[in-house]
């Protein structure tokens, strides 16, 4: 499975949650598959989906899912100790780990070679870390939501992108409708 197939499969779970989605093709895919006001699409700023999601989870009670990539987590590796040391029971970090920088031409990441992001997260102090196969993402994500415990999911999947249009929505519109969904 590639990322877009996983997103299609978990779209019914994501629909009712606050979602912070990683820059580039992941946001384009989610936007094309199931655009929701409760999706915050990152149009720039690689690496900060997990930080934005944690800040949001710590500031209000609704569940927050940050959809991140292995390359983006590697870019902002300092996020994992911050997450571990400031746990929010309503926060799920879903790392779709396809071992490549998908938005820039599928160049390999170190997560696809020797580095295990699940082990890094554990070493950083994250208490609930689940590594799963792409096919199990929906089940693992639902279990994490039901548990009410902060969970880091590392979903191992194949490299590849679906051809989706660029998001042309104005960033202030994305932010405004997202904030309305947060406070609804």
């Amino acid at each position: 499975m590639i990322r877009s197939e996983i997103l299609k499969e978990i779209a019914p779970i994501l629909r009712d949650q606050l979602v912070v989605c990683n820059i580039g093709i992941p946001s384009q895919e989610l936007h094309a598959i199931d655009d929701q006001p409760s999706n915050f699409y990152m149009l720039g700023t690689m690496g900060l989906a997990s930080s934005i999601g944690l800040g949001l989870a710590l500031s209000q009670p609704k569940p927050v899912i940050s959809i991140d990539g292995d390359g983006s987590v590697l870019t902002n590796l300092g996020t994992l100790p911050t997450i571990a040391n400031n746990p929010a029971g309503n926060f799920i970090l879903l790392i779709i780990d396809n071992g490549s920088y998908g938005s820039t031409g599928d160049q390999p990441t170190y997560a696809g070679r020797k580095t295990s992001l699940a082990k890094v997260a554990e070493a950083c102090g994250c208490e609930t870390v689940v590594e799963c196969a792409a096919e199990d993402t929906g089940r693992v994500l639902q279990e994490a939501l039901d548990s009410g415990e902060m969970t880091i999911i590392v979903c191992k999947c194949e490299s590849g992108n679906a051809k989706m249009p660029v998001i042309t929505m104005d960033p202030v519109v994305i932010r405004d409708r997202f904030m309305k969904a947060v406070s609804a």
Partner: protein, 167 residues
């Protein structure tokens, strides 16, 4: 006196309902950070890098809290992309209390290297910038915080060694 200024600064943040503060430490700001950590009204999240801190603040803002970041001026070099593509692009407010290292009284030569670029970079980013040099300059802090949340922009408050009374 030093304790008073730290308390005064944090009082102004609390009075303006700032309740989520992320920090990357600087020697000059140690007292403010201690004060922030001690306040029940403020959720203090130390971060490992300033762009990460700005991400946390963006999330907190969208969650309904008023955020602020405390950092050193060297962080301007780290955060330009985040300021442009996240904070400014999505129009989010962010008071940035910044220690302005490399100014008069600075003992570490390398700090001057970023000090000489600090105001130029902030000007290039069109970030409203205030420079606290004399102790009385703190009187404007309350208005600066109000201004930040009025206009939904990042705003820089540079605080130099003369303001802090040397080190």
């Amino acid at each position: 006196m030093q304790e008073d200024i730290n308390k005064r600064i944090v009082d102004d943040f609390v009075a303006n309902d700032v309740s989520f503060v992320t920090t990357v430490p600087c020697k000059q700001l140690a007292g403010v950070i201690d004060e922030i950590d001690a306040r029940e009204e403020i959720h203090h999240i130390p971060s490992n890098k300033e762009d990460e801190g700005m991400g946390l603040c963006a999330g907190a803002f969208m969650g309904g809290k008023r955020p602020a970041i405390i950092m050193q001026n060297t962080a301007i070099g780290v955060t330009i992309n985040t300021l442009a593509t996240l904070t400014q692009y999505y129009r989010m407010p962010l008071p940035m209390l910044i220690s302005y290292r490399g100014e008069l009284g600075e003992p570490v030569a390398c700090q001057v290297e970023m000090a000489v670029h600090t105001k130029a970079l902030l000007a290039q980013l069109h970030i409203p910038t205030y420079h606290f040099h004399h102790r009385d300059d703190v009187e404007e802090l309350d208005k600066i915080i109000k201004y930040t949340f009025m206009c939904n922009k990042p705003v820089a408050i540079l605080t130099d060694a003369s303001f802090w009374g040397g080190y």
